[in-house]
Subunit: 116 residues, 2 copies
DNA sequence: AATCTATACATAAGACTTTTATGTATAGGA
DNA sequence: TCCTATACATAAAAGTCTTATGTATAGATT
């Protein structure tokens, strides 16, 4: 588990990346997927996740479908067409950003390797 | 220039990494170093930088030396012994974190390459 | 039958980080 | 003389995330 400060700013890119790959997901599923993908190093808290999903819906980036599982209701989130565009842009920016960070933190590597 | 949200949480690791490599630096020098290292993609604002430096000093991570350049005064920052330890730990955590992020955002790469 | 854990949603107060705006002052170039 | 660069600093506001709390169903264990 990473210290909290380090994860700042990555929640939105992570969620959108998952939605880009999985077509549709519900909130709890997202928290589990991140836990699994990162071997428990990143745990998304509900207090951060749900407000962000609601905000993305209000912005038209995602839309929702409710589905009943027994007596419980699941709320699935999926990208809208414009959301897909924005997501693609954001992810490209994020990947570029990570390459820049890598350049700062591993300055001995030859440019070109690792990103090709 | 990246959108602001993306850079969140990286300011402290960046500053400490620079101080680890450069022995001592002053505030303005840090802003320029980051601009140069990232081809203007990341610009550290003074409103974020100076309060953080003051906080790091209050925590005993860095110490300062004032130096007069003509009539102006420069304030150099350098890592304390305990600050060096904390910095090393933070940077290792950050590098690990970046590898985890890379795993999420570039899932097709074979593990082992790029980090070896 | 009762209790614990997992699933599944949600909100609200507070902490923390960063942006935006503003201020002061010296130095150098146009 | 004026503009830009150098060099520090603070303070209000915005924004993000943590921590805490709440509700409820479902399944497993005691």
């Amino acid at each position: 588990m990473y210290s909290k400060e380090i994860i700042k700013g990555t929640l939105k890119p992570i969620i959108l990346k998952l939605l880009q790959e999985n077509n549709r997901m519900y909130g709890y599923e997202i928290t589990q997927a991140v836990k699994d993908l990162t071997a428990d190093k990143i745990k998304i808290t509900e207090g951060a996740l749900y407000p962000l999903l609601h905000k993305l819906e209000a912005e038209g980036v995602v839309f929702t479908e409710k589905e009943s599982i027994g007596k419980r209701v699941r709320k699935y989130y999926a990208l809208t067409p414009s959301g897909k565009e924005k997501t693609q842009e954001l992810i490209e920016e994020f990947v570029d950003f990570m390459a820049t960070m890598k350049h700062i933190f591993e300055p001995n590597l030859q440019p070109g390797y690792g990103t090709a």
